[in-house]
Each structure stands twice: as structure tokens, then as C-alpha cells.
């Protein structure tokens, strides 16, 4: 297992797993941001999501391609993201690591003084 993914990175990667999420072809910055907010159940800054997308792409866990811009975007292109095979493996590893971590624990955890 390479780098262990953080919770935020996992949320961003999970938003790109198709067809589980509804994003589909809408897997661009703003759509992903909405999905991540929904998954984490809290307000997330756009800057953090774009920075994470860049980092994941540098790690080779996702790929992106440019699509032509529309009039509403003043002709500016749209960058669409897709999860790579390495990204799926990283998510599986993260899930397996978390499962291992909780193996043998009785759920939910209780505090015993």
C-alpha cells in the first residue's frame, strides 16, 4: 500500500466512483465539491477541493481532460475528472486498512473508566 489516503482525499475520490455517485459526466470541480460536501456532511471550501484534485492527479489516482467551454462559462473550458485504476486500488486499500483497524472491536465503542 502506498500513501494512506486522508478522509478528505477519500471523500473526493469516492465522489468520482461511478456509477455509485450521480455525478457521471458532471464530474468537474463544482459538481465534485457538492458531492464532497454531501458525503462529509459539512461545509467544505472550494479551494480545498481543487487543491485535493490537483494533488490526487499528481499522484496518478485520477485523470482529467478538458472539455470545450460554453457561453454561460464565457467560453472557458471545463476540466472533467475520472478516477484511475490506481485510485480505485487506493480506496480499497484505505477501506481495508480502516476495517483492519476496527477488527475485533465491539460497535459502537463505549467509554469504560
Amino acid at each position: 500500500m502506498a500513501d494512506v489516503l486522508g478522509a478528505f482525499e477519500q471523500a473526493v475520490l469516492l465522489s468520482l466512483v461511478r456509477p455509485v455517485t450521480a455525478l457521471g459526466k458532471e464530474a468537474y470541480g463544482r459538481g465534485i465539491l457538492t458531492e464532497v460536501r454531501h458525503r462529509l456532511g459539512r461545509e467544505v471550501s472550494a479551494g480545498a477541493v481543487y487543491a485535493t484534485l490537483d494533488r490526487l492527479e499528481q499522484k496518478g489516482l485520477i485523470s482529467s481532460e478538458l472539455e470545450a467551454g460554453t457561453a454561460v462559462r464565457a467560453g472557458r473550458p471545463r476540466r472533467c475528472y475520472a478516477i484511475a485504476a490506481a485510485g480505485v486500488r487506493a480506496l480499497n486499500d484505505a477501506k481495508a486498512a480502516a476495517d483492519r483497524l476496527y477488527t475485533g472491536m465491539r460497535w459502537p465503542l463505549r467509554h469504560t473508566p
Binding site: 463544482r30 471550501s45 481543487y50 471545463r78
Partner: protein
């Protein structure tokens, strides 16, 4: 600002995403005012210390527009700081006591440098600002020096002046050596603002040009007075501290710098408004 904070590959895509959401979702939901607030918040979310440091380094290292602009402004700031350091040394050497308003005008000089970096958009802007500031600043210094020479060569008794000012029929216009230099400085600053705004079609540039001229002009003048005071040019006072003519001027007139800067902002803006109007008029005539 947002474009400066983003990596070049993301500039168009991220601003496009924001624009799309702004137009299609946020404006219909929150109205134009609410959407603007939303937009500012979104842009603010990209501001992190790491990004700001990165942007600063890129500006200083890349051979780009901002890089050249930053270098030009830094030269300006270094020159201003050197002048201030010289002034400080002269003040200490001449034993003038606490330098009134020194901190204030240091702050103004720094603010001016920072404003120039923000208000100017390209290297030619900084260059023309510097040129106009230098010419008008030199003229301001000249006027102030001429006024000083008048006071040195033909001093007026301060008690006599005080009594004259207390009379009901007192008018500044009866003392041309007081109002003519003031009017000349005002005209120079307005002219600088007018010229800069006419060239660039931007009022802000006019204000900035007048501010530059006033700070440069008064800084040079104050430095000259401080340096002149260290020389045995005039009769010494009983304590042997400084020549009398400079005492008459309230020692080194450091407060002149912030006061003139404040006036120059107003006068420069007035001149700049005329300059902008002339620029529009010129463009309209050329169009017809």
C-alpha cells in the same frame, strides 16, 4: 486576485466553474447582491498562507508581467527607504530631538509602495507613474526650496506675523510668499494627477501619481533641510544646536510629508477627474 492564486493550468477552468455556478444557480437563488457576497467568499476560500507565499515567490522569480512590476516597485521602495534612513541619520546627527510624525510618514511611504503594486497593472504603468512622480516631485521640491530661500534671505519676524494674523483684516493674500508657493504646489499636484489620468484613462493612477510626487518632493525637501541643518550655514542659537532659520521653521518639517500626502490625494483626484474627462473626450473625438 483569484487568477493570481491559481496554477496557470487551473485559471480558466476554475474561474469558469465559478462563473457557471454564479450565473446558473447562485444569482437566481440569492439575487445579485447575495451572489456577490457568495463570490467573495468563494474567492477567499482559495487564499491560504501557502498559496500567498507561492504567488509571491512566483512574482519575484518568473519572467512575467508581475515579476517586472514587482522589481520596479521594489526599487522604488528601496529608494524610499534609503531616503528615509538618510533622513533619520541626519535627524540624529543634528540633535533635533524626537522626529515628529516620522512613523506616520514611513507608514505613508510604505502604503504608497503597496498601493502602486496593486493599482498598477503593467510595467508601463509603474514606469509612467515613476516618471510623472519624479518630474512633479522635483517641481514640488524646487518650489519648497525657493520658499525656504526667501525665508532665509529675508526672514519675517515671527512675533510680527503672529500679531498680524490676530488682526481682523488679516488675509493670506496679503502675503504672496505664503500663498504663491502653496498655489504652485497645488497646481503641480493637480497637473500630475491630470496627466497620469489622461494617459491611462484611470482616475486611480492620477491620484497615485500626485501621491508619488508629493511624497518624493517633500521627502527630498525634508532630507535637504535636515542635511542643511548639520552644516554651519547660519547663526547658531544660544545653545549652539541649530541655525536660527531652521528653528524658525520648527526644525525639520517632517509633518510636511504626511500633510502634503493627504492634500495631494485630494488635489490629485480632482486633477485626475479632469484628466479622465479629457481622455474620454479625446477618445470620442478620435472615434467620430
Amino acid at each position: 486576485m483569484l487568477r493570481a492564486l491559481l496554477e496557470p493550468r487551473n485559471r480558466d477552468t476554475v474561474t469558469g466553474d465559478l462563473l457557471e455556478e454564479y450565473r446558473e444557480i447562485v444569482v437566481p437563488e440569492r439575487g445579485r447582491f447575495g451572489a456577490r457576497i457568495w463570490y467573495i467568499r468563494e474567492v477567499a476560500s482559495f487564499v491560504t498562507t501557502r498559496r500567498l507565499v507561492k504567488v509571491s515567490i512566483v512574482w519575484l522569480r518568473e519572467d512575467a508581467m508581475f515579476d517586472r512590476l514587482a522589481r520596479t516597485s521594489w526599487v522604488w521602495l528601496v529608494a524610499g527607504s534609503a531616503a528615509l534612513a538618510g533622513l533619520l541619520v541626519a535627524l540624529i546627527r543634528s540633535n533635533f530631538g524626537p522626529p515628529a510624525g516620522l512613523g506616520l510618514f514611513i507608514a505613508i511611504s510604505m502604503m504608497l509602495g503597496a498601493s502602486a503594486m496593486i493599482a498598477t497593472r503593467a510595467r508601463p504603468d509603474a514606469r509612467s507613474l515613476w516618471r510623472i512622480g519624479l518630474v512633479c516631485g522635483t517641481l514640488v521640491t524646487l518650489v519648497l526650496v525657493i520658499r525656504l530661500l526667501f525665508e532665509v534671505l529675508d526672514p519675517v519676524d515671527p512675533v510680527e506675523r503672529f500679531l498680524a494674523q490676530a488682526r481682523d483684516d488679516y488675509s493670506e493674500f496679503n502675503y504672496p510668499r505664503r500663498w504663491i508657493p502653496a498655489a504652485a504646489v497645488a497646481l503641480i499636484l493637480m497637473g500630475g494627477g491630470l496627466h497620469a489620468a489622461r494617459r491611462t484613462a484611470r482616475v486611480g493612477m492620477g491620484t497615485l501619481a500626485a501621491l508619488t510626487a508629493s511624497v518624493l518632493g517633500s521627502l527630498v525637501y525634508v532630507t535637504l533641510v535636515a542635511l542643511g541643518n548639520t552644516l554651519p550655514l547660519g547663526p547658531q542659537d544660544p545653545l549652539g544646536n541649530s541655525p536660527r532659520y531652521l528653528q524658525f521653521f520648527g526644525n525639520v518639517p517632517t509633518m510636511l510629508i504626511p500633510i502634503l500626502a493627504m492634500f495631494s490625494a485630494v488635489l490629485g483626484t480632482i486633477g485626475a477627474l479632469f484628466g479622465r474627462a479629457l481622455s474620454c473626450l479625446g477618445a470620442k473625438t478620435a472615434h467620430n
